[in-house]
């Protein structure tokens, strides 16, 4: 096992275990932190894929900004545990069914995806064996602001709509 494989296994395990920890325990604070851990794993994988800029953005923006926002809301609402078992008891006959079904489906879906991917021809090739990587931030920037210029502009409307929306939804209402 070369160092590449070792790093892949390490970061992959970090990402997977982090994700598992998000969904496997009930405390939202731990979930947010576990997700940040998972993002570090992903970030490492991006480095392995010779995409350093994505890796940096993943940490700075995603883990650093978005996840902090989540953490902030969790703390704001003081919702550090799953509450409302009373609500579960209120609907005894339909609550567990879809949940168990959903969990089973998730496993099934994972199996399906893996099966589909392993049956696809041509995926066994090592990543980056055939073509050189585009690593430089300059290249990324050039393509982003030429080919994807319009999409970039559209995101400004997207973010504006989200901002207005968040304000409308969350502000205290004076009647």
């Amino acid at each position: 096992m070369g160092s590449d494989q070792l790093l892949f296994v390490g970061f992959g395990a970090l990402a997977l275990l982090g994700a598992l920890a998000v969904v496997a325990q009930p405390n939202p604070v731990y979930s947010v932190i576990a997700l940040i851990v998972s993002f570090f794993g992903l970030s490492g994988l991006y480095v392995l894929l010779e995409s350093p800029f994505v890796a940096v953005v993943q940490i700075i923006i995603y883990a650093g900004a978005i996840m902090v926002l989540f953490l902030f809301v969790v703390m704001l609402l003081n919702a550090t545990r799953e509450d409302g078992s009373e609500w579960d008891r209120a609907h005894p006959y339909y609550r567990p069914g879809p949940m168990r079904l959903g969990a089973v489906l998730a496993v099934l879906f994972g199996v399906q995806m893996i099966w589909a991917l392993t049956r696809t021809v041509g995926l066994g090739v090592g990543v980056g064996e055939t073509r050189p990587a585009v690593e430089s931030v300059r290249d990324v920037g050039r393509v982003l602001f030429t080919d994807y210029m319009f999409a970039f502009e559209v995101t400004s409307i997207l973010i504006l709509a989200a901002m207005v929306g968040a304000v409308v939804l969350a502000r205290r209402r004076e009647e």
Binding site: M113, F150, A161, V164, G165
Partner: protein
């Protein structure tokens, strides 16, 4: 008019500017000051309509990922019409219900921007971004009413499920990108056409995931469950807007992707959509029969209509493609008018959206009852309304492609659906109400807008050929 790189996005720019102006105006508005924000929105929308008309037949493209072909312009005109009507109907109710006017109109316009771009996009990434822009605006519009538990719940359900489905859609796009090396629709089409892909599990998975994503936005079974709840919880005018605009935009993008880029694989995906269309038509109608809340009833009716629309995609022939466009136009007008009537008759405090609230409407609001009757007849596919021609057209496309059973199921479900449409008519005309409430005043502008819409429904039913020709011509340049 000279051509420039920006031509194809001029309609979108009109609407965007209107949205920004509305937002700015709102932020400089003093408390209690009244501003004609709806009028500003209308100016932008009408400007976009004019731009769409001027761009007709010019096949402009911009930035390599936006097109203004006739297909996109046709659907955009439908979306803009929906937008204009919604603004006209909202003028009065926004003030009456105390909604935040600036945010309301701005989000409406941003949603329209998303819808239009979704239709015009020729790149899957842009389709996704536009879809998200539209969705986020619509999620918020769903829950825009102050302190309204039902509205917030509806918005939350719509949002969470929407985000869930978007992830599937995005995953599908990722696989298509992986197989073809591009996200451009033309590029994907070229690769898919060049070699047989039927045995490639990855592209099949991509198709399945795209069906999930679009099926959710269009609201077909089994991805439909958000829609009755969201339609019921949202303010009726927003429901009218999202049940038509979102559906039209998603359907148009769905059809563009599946009938152009993925057309070579039609034998692979047609059976799936066949099944989805069949269940959707049946379930939408059967469950609809049991509803007593009018908005919920119309939600199930919209689900059934999404099934009819899918029939056009499954048919996949020239008639089918044109029929989708015609059906969208007929459906959009009809549904906007239907929800507008519900919205005009109900406030937040007294939603008046139960079947019983319509008892004896003929005595309190004779004109609204008459207009509602035509709307319901159109939804039920009665001649001589737009709904009849649309259904006839789409099922003749199905029969033309040999899908006899789909036509049989479709007609059967439309037969059954008439039960619940007619029950409303019976309520309005043939039932007395013990305690008649004081009739709500209805704004003259809304009344005029409704009359025009219903006239258009009848026009499409009696003299449909011009619009059908237009629809047929606009698909011929694309597919």
């Amino acid at each position: 008019m000279g051509t420039s790189a920006f031509d194809a996005v001029i309609p979108v720019i009109c609407v965007t500017l209107a949205g920004l102006v509305v937002l700015l105006a709102e932020s400089f508005r003093k408390k209690q000051e009244r501003m004609p924000l709806g009028g500003l929105a209308l100016i932008g929308l009408i400007g976009a309509v004019i731009a769409c008309v001027l761009l007709w037949d010019r096949n402009a493209t911009s930035f390599g990922m936006v097109t203004a072909d006739n297909y996109a312009l046709f659907v955009n005109l439908i979306i803009l019409t929906v937008g204009i009507l919604t603004v006209v109907f909202s003028q009065h109710t926004v003030e009456r219900d105390g909604l935040p006017a600036g945010e309301y109109y701005a989000l409406l316009l941003f949603a329209i921007v998303g819808m239009m771009l979704m239709v015009q996009a020729t790149d899957l990434l842009l389709v996704f971004l536009a879809l998200e822009t539209m969705s986020i605006a619509v999620y918020v519009l769903t829950g825009i009413r102050f302190n309204d538990a039902r509205g917030t719940e509806a918005a939350f359900k719509y949002f969470l499920l929407g985000a869930f489905a978007s992830a599937f859609l995005l995953y599908g796009i990722a696989f298509l990108f992986g197989v073809t090396g591009t996200t451009s629709l033309d590029g994907i089409g070229t690769v898919v056409a060049a070699q047989s892909m039927s045995g490639n599990p990855m592209i099949l998975a991509a198709i399945a995931l795209l069906i999930v994503g679009f099926g959710f936005k269009v609201g077909v079974v089994p991805f439909h469950q958000w829609s009755p709840d969201a339609y019921e919880g949202a303010p009726a005018l927003v429901t009218g807007f999202m049940s038509t605009g979102v559906k039209a935009a998603a359907m148009a993008a769905f059809a563009r992707i599946f009938l152009s880029s993925l057309e070579p694989m039609i034998t692979d995906w047609a059976p799936v959509l066949w099944g989805v269309a069949a269940i959707t038509m049946i379930l939408g109608t059967v469950v609809g029969v049991a509803q007593t809340n009018l908005k919920r009833m119309l939600a199930y009716s919209s689900i059934a209509h999404a099934g009819y629309l899918l029939v056009g995609i499954v048919a996949g022939n020239e008639v089918g493609k044109a029929a989708i466009l015609f059906y969208l136009a007929a459906y959009a007008l009809t549904n906007v008018a239907g929800f507008a009537i519900i919205g005009l008759l109900g406030t937040k405090a007294a939603p008046n959206d139960d079947l019983r609230d319509y008892a004896g409407l003929w005595h309190t609001h004779p004109a609204l009852a008459g207009l509602m009757t035509i709307v319901l007849l159109s939804l039920g596919g009665f001649p001589p309304t737009a709904g009849f021609i649309a259904k006839w057209y789409i099922f003749s496309a199905a029969v033309g492609s040999g899908y006899y059973w789909l036509a049989i199921i479709g007609f059967l479900s439309s037969v059954v659906s008439v039960f619940f449409y007619l029950r409303i008519v019976v309520m309005m005309f043939m039932t007395e109400r013990d305690a008649r409430p004081v009739p709500l005043p209805v704004a003259a502008s809304a009344m005029a807008g409704l009359a025009v819409t219903v006239a258009a429904i009848l026009y499409l039913g009696i003299l449909p050929s011009r619009v059908i020709d237009l629809a047929a011509a606009s698909i011929s340049t694309v597919f």
